[in-house]
Symmetry: none
Subunit: 203 residues, 4 copies
DNA sequence: GATGAATGAGGGTTCATTCAT
DNA sequence: GATGAATGAACCCTCATTCAT
């Protein structure tokens, strides 16, 4: 099945399988997931999965790419908005990252990456290159711009961007592990975080 | 094998197995780990593993307990030190968490928890109860005490403790996934983080 | 697809498929051959193969028939030549068998027959009836005629024809298995064989 | 499972599996054989087969080695007997080969070699090196010795040994394919063959 | 008729767990 | 208690065959 020559209905089928795989991976983890279940969830025969993905690892890639690619667009779009103040840009940037990670699909991707990434080098590189690095750089630019404009105090541009993204990661991990034990108010958390760190860097 | 009636050498044996399992789980993940490999690494026969742990899940528990229990002590110890200023206590608290998560065994535990936690409820509860919740509470106490003493600005006691722990989690995840692609200076990162958030909450 | 009502181009298509199958069976064996590969080799779609052959076994039959039928004609033609001396007729007969088996397509057929024959009874019967038995009888007639005419010593007519065909079979098997390890000079081998056995039976 | 450190009962188990595999391979061919059936025939669990053979190919090797090795001894023993006349030595040599190939296990091996040999290079080389080449050389020595002693006519030493082994191969193939359609009297065939070729080369 | 995507039974292999020694 | 051979359920993947277009 050539990816370039897929018909409309084939593309839909491929998406069905990716969607099903995401769901099953979320429920059972990657190793624990059975292709049988993915197929059933996608309402296709087991063999059909292998028409679209050459093996289970390719399916994992498909799932991760499927979620990461649109997210890249969102991060880029947030970064492109350069009219606002540095603080507002930072708020927006962190907000986008936090929302994606704290809820929905990117949450599952993070879990898959942490669980399976160490075994699949190319996947780790892809994830770093496409989304993590650009995200860190976007934050870094906000910091540098804010310092340059005098909005943030001197030295802010040198801070690790991870300081500003950490809470979003924490929220994601919390959601994966403890959401039923102690639910987290994502918006309030991100607000606390931003208020605190922005106060910490404001001139 | 009753845990109460173990001889000295049996306890040592058990520890060998736990140590070996931690190593193999770190290398291959929990699902990817073979009991054969754990046994070989511990220099015992495969059947012996089952004398000390009734199945693979129990071995996972053993590994996690083995790392978490001493860490609990460290967190408690850090929290007990109430002579210092709130800021110093917070620095110390975050430092302990960050060091444990950013390097060494707790890093592996976090990965195991994120990967397998959703499948093993009791483990998640244990992890939350024993280490996460106490850690969050210890941070919360620092914040409340600092606010009460006027060291931190009003409202600080209401902030989510996750704001202060997030960077440590981020460091752990980074170490798991990207350490070879972009190494992280853990000390510098934690310093950036603490400087920023402490500035953000200081009165 | 009724074999009687095929158009010219359909017949050509069928032959293409048979030719392709012979090639793939030669390369991968019958069990190892994939219908996909046969179709690709014949430059038709996979489904098309099933328009001409109801299943893989029928394709095997088609391949074997396709090679055996013309060979039958050759054996018959060689047998029909009754003008020559018995020795010359025998030489010719063995030569035809040896050439067919030692090189080219009949070689592949022999391999397929030995590998798959035991599983496909009808095929074995066909092969025996159409080519093996007639071949043995043709040799037997040469021997009997030569004995009757005094050209061969008494008793020659009672000898097993297999004695005279064995070297050709050996050559075929050798070619299948050891051609790269120790190439065989087919003509020289057959000459040695004929010289020896003819000396052995000459009056 | 280390082959050197096997206990008596493990060796017996291994032999059981090899024996079972030979039987199933004989019945269904190598590709058609299911490990399940081999295990059942050997009265062990499927997994046990994999304790003794790392995969199906290794099992095929085990089967072939198991039959070829004792046969090598027989060929060597027959070749060692240098007291007899060249003709008797040749009779004996051909007899040993013919018996082995015409009946019993070597027959199955030949079928397996012809069917699967082309796919398993190492197996072909092993078979050639261990049994075919030594067999051909043993025959060649008989011929050369007989010529040297004047027992055989000049030039006999130059003849292809395959001329003398061919009928045995033919018998084997016949037995594989046509034994039910036209049974072969192996002893009579070999006698015919030897009488004929020995007459053909006698001085 | 021709196509090739879809199907799903089947089989090789792995590995957690058991148990006889 | 310690061992490691034995077990068999489970699962990924292949590929002959079908069938909607």
């Amino acid at each position: 099945m050539n990816e370039k020559t897929m018909t409309r209905s084939q593309e839909r089928r491929r998406e069905d399988i990716v969607r099903a795989a995401l769901e099953v991976f979320d429920r059972d983890g990657f190793e624990g997931a059975r292709i049988d279940d993915v197929a059933a969830e996608a309402a296709v025969a087991k063999g059909t999965v292998y028409l679209y993905f050459k093996n289970k690892e390719a399916l994992l890639e498909g799932v991760i790419h499927g979620v990461v690619k649109p997210a890249v667009a969102a991060v880029e779009e947030a970064a492109a908005d350069t009219d606002m103040s540095a603080a507002d840009r930072l708020r927006r940037q962190i907000g986008v990252i936090g929302k994606r990670l704290g809820e929905g699909q990117m949450n599952v991707i993070l879990r898959l990456m942490i669980a399976e990434g160490p075994k699949y080098d190319e996947l780790r590189r892809f994830y770093f290159r496409e989304i993590v690095n650009p995200g860190m750089q976007a934050i870094g630019r906000c910091l540098a711009d804010g310092e340059a404009s005098g909005e943030f105090r001197p030295g802010t541009g040198q801070l690790h961007p991870q300081v500003f993204a950490g809470t979003a990661i924490m929220a994601a991990v919390w959601r994966i592990l403890f959401d039923d034990l102690r639910p987290l108010d994502l918006d309030a958390l991100l607000r606390d975080h931003l208020d605190t760190v922005l106060d910490g860097i404001s001139a």
